[in-house]
């Protein structure tokens, strides 16, 4: 949309257009022809990329939201306040991404509301569904002051501000529950998931690795913002985030290796195998290497070193989730799974749209405290806000009409 309004075609705009176009085609095929025709899923391999990447990684990479809000509001380390807004925005977009991806993955997405009224408290999936839904609402509320600020709705902003601490606490609890529960999903397949990934500790491992990945994403997204918006990198702050990330990765690495050793799985690595290779890649590149890099002050203090470590940690995290949901399940399934182009196209398009919304939000909302004080009467933001604000922050619905604009655009 942006590109049609402004005819300058930058490289990334072109990428965005290509990704959303192929994604749209894939989406059409998915909803007209069904899952079987559009995906490489089968009875042997019922969960693929949309669960492994979109849901498991989407939720995990958004974990910065609860970590940073807890650090600032509960632990009262106010110096991290400047990174709250972009982090909460990333988290919120991450969860919306997951919800949209779920609509693609569910066989009958029109029944997604069934989880609200048809309860089965024995199901991990049921718990995840509720937590994700509630936490997305919490994130929308945590994000809403930014929109209220932009719309000059002082009263609404004060109301949300007043409940910010309980909101953060509820958010941390919900996050702890569902981040770990995404691991619990796989507790029920002890005879299917490869021993390199199956562990009674799965919920703990998922939780700790999500904290590390959430912190890594804070660094990655700050770096991307700096590239995209010339927003300066707050190195002193991010360096501390990097150290915290190293600690989280360290705890995760120890838990992981100790668990494998205790269950006697490590010696199996001596015999080369597909699973063994993927495991070494995941833990070597995505856990050990970033820990080593971050442990060296000279590397950590430099932008390139810090950002590289963060990218590696994110990569390792994504590999872990894909290994649990795909690599580790292939042997028992007896088939190899590789996503169809349509599965890849939908995932990439959703990521691209997420990036674009983030970009728009940074331009038109006070995400970074400085540099957004544009004259209020610009037409473009008003048009954009009227269109996106209601969806961005569900709570802002009423306020959009209050400020004289016709209700919602949807």
């Amino acid at each position: 949309m942006n590109a049609t309004r402004r005819p300058e075609f930058t490289f990334w705009r072109l990428v965005f257009l290509v990704l959303t176009a192929t994604g749209t085609v894939a989406a059409l095929l998915r909803f007209t022809r069904g899952l079987g025709a559009s995906t490489n899923l089968s009875d042997q391999f019922p969960w693929g990329l949309w669960v492994g990447f979109d849901v498991l990684c989407g939720v995990g990479l958004a974990a910065g939201g609860f970590t940073i809000t807890a650090i600032v509001y509960v632990f009262n380390l106010k110096r991290f306040a400047p990174i709250i807004r972009p982090t909460v925005l990333t988290a919120f977009l991450g969860y919306v991404f997951v919800a949209v991806a779920l609509l693609f993955d569910l066989g009958q997405p029109q029944r997604i509301w069934h989880a609200l009224v048809m309860w089965n408290p024995h199901s991990v999936m049921f718990e995840v569904a509720w937590c994700v839904m509630l936490y997305t609402s919490v994130l929308a509320l945590e994000f809403s002051p930014i929109v209220f600020e932009r719309l000059n709705l002082e009263r609404a902003r004060r109301i949300v501000r007043a409940v910010s601490v309980p909101l953060v606490i509820v958010g941390v609890i919900l996050s702890t529950l569902h981040q770990s529960s995404l691991g619990s999903l796989f507790l029920i397949v002890p005879e299917k998931l490869h021993p390199l990934w199956y562990s009674p500790l799965l919920p703990v491992l998922f939780f700790v690795s999500a904290i590390a990945a959430g912190l890594a994403m804070v660094i990655v997204e700050s770096y991307l913002c700096q590239r995209a918006f010339n927003h300066h990198l707050e190195m002193d702050l991010l360096e501390t985030v990097g150290r915290a990330m190293a600690v989280a990765l360290g705890v995760y690495g120890i838990l992981r290796l100790q668990d494998l050793a205790r269950r006697g799985v490590l010696p199996t690595l001596r015999h080369p195998s597909y699973e063994g290779g993927m495991f070494l890649l995941e833990v070597g590149l995505g856990v050990l290497l970033p820990i080593v890099l971050l442990a060296i002050p000279k590397v950590r203090m430099k932008e390139a070193g810090l950002v590289t470590s963060a990218f590696l940690a994110v990569l390792g995290f994504v590999m872990h989730r894909l290994n649990v949901s795909i690599t580790g399940m292939e042997r028992a399934a007896g088939v190899r799974y590789f996503p169809s182009w349509m599965e890849v196209a939908v995932s990439l398009a959703l990521v691209a749209v997420g990036f674009a919304i983030f970009g728009w939000a940074v331009q038109y909302l006070p995400i970074f405290h400085e540099g957004v004080h544009r004259p209020r009467a610009v037409e473009a933001p008003a048009w954009l806000l009227a269109k996106t604000a209601p969806t961005l922050a569900g709570g802002a619905l009423g306020s959009a009409s209050q400020s004289g604009r016709p209700g919602r655009a949807e």
Binding site: D43, F75, R111, A115, H122, M125, F126, I173, I188, E191
Partner: protein
């Protein structure tokens, strides 16, 4: 009575009358797929010179019923594990989790549902045997009360110990199933998993899920406590700074 099916592989001649009866009873398309699919709920496979039936095992503590977020699966008191398609939203967790790989999805449909053998619950409610058991010409598939069938199976093992592997498959697997299998060849060579846990799989997740209420209370109190301390600390600091700034 808790209904169950006893399948005795040594008596099966592979006539597939059970498959045909199942197709007819459940209005399934007549083509028989070589493996279980959403449209073929039972098959007879020949392995190691023996015939074995594949079908839902109707677990005593079904994994599918436990994992389904909307409770579409239910273990009926009289044996069958049934499925309510009107609840299903298509997450396929049941397909992924079932230790026997039984629930199958309608991959060819735009609005698909899960399908599997449901042990003809309407027939059982009327006091009849499921369709497959009612047509079996050799008595390889029989229907009855689970405890009585276990007794029957033990009697067969005792009467002809040479022709059987001395074990009833389904007696203890994943906490027991309502389909019991006897075999003359090792169960593994029939393609049945012999490495399954002997406890119900739903326990694995319930151990974690059941702790949630406690976690919410303790975690909430803990976080509130930390906030109270850090908040008070900064208030005291601010007050002290104010005092210090006062000219006195």
């Amino acid at each position: 009575m808790k209904g169950a099916i006893l399948f005795d592989s040594t008596k099966c001649i592979g006539c597939e009358a059970c498959v045909a009866a199942c197709k007819e009873k459940n209005n399934l398309p007549p083509t028989v797929d070589p493996k279980l699919t959403a449209y073929t709920w039972t098959v007879v496979e020949q392995r190691d010179k023996a015939f074995v039936r594949r079908m839902c095992m109707h677990c005593e503590s079904p994994t599918c019923a436990s994992v389904c977020p909307v409770g579409a699966f239910q273990k009926q008191l009289d044996g069958p594990v049934t499925y309510d398609a009107s609840r299903c939203m298509g997450c396929r967790y049941c397909v992924m989790a079932c230790p026997f790989g039984v629930p199958k999805y309608q991959w060819d449909r735009t609005v698909p549902i899960v399908q599997k053998c449901i042990m003809c619950p309407d027939r059982i409610a009327r006091g009849e045997a499921p369709a497959c058991a009612s047509v079996c010409p050799t008595g390889a598939t029989t229907f009855g009360d689970r405890n009585q069938l276990i007794g029957e199976a033990r009697a067969r093992l005792a009467a002809a110990p040479k022709s059987y592997v001395p074990r009833i498959y389904g007696l203890e697997e994943v906490g027991g199933t309502s389909v019991l299998i006897l075999s003359g060849v090792p169960f593994a060579s029939l393609g049945l998993r012999t490495d399954l846990l002997l406890q119900p799989l739903p326990m694995l997740t319930w151990q974690v899920l059941s702790k949630i209420p406690d976690f919410v209370v303790v975690g909430g109190a803990f976080l509130y406590g930390i906030w109270w301390i850090t908040n008070r600390r900064s208030k005291v600091e601010a007050l002290l700074a104010q005092e210090a700034a006062k000219p006195s």
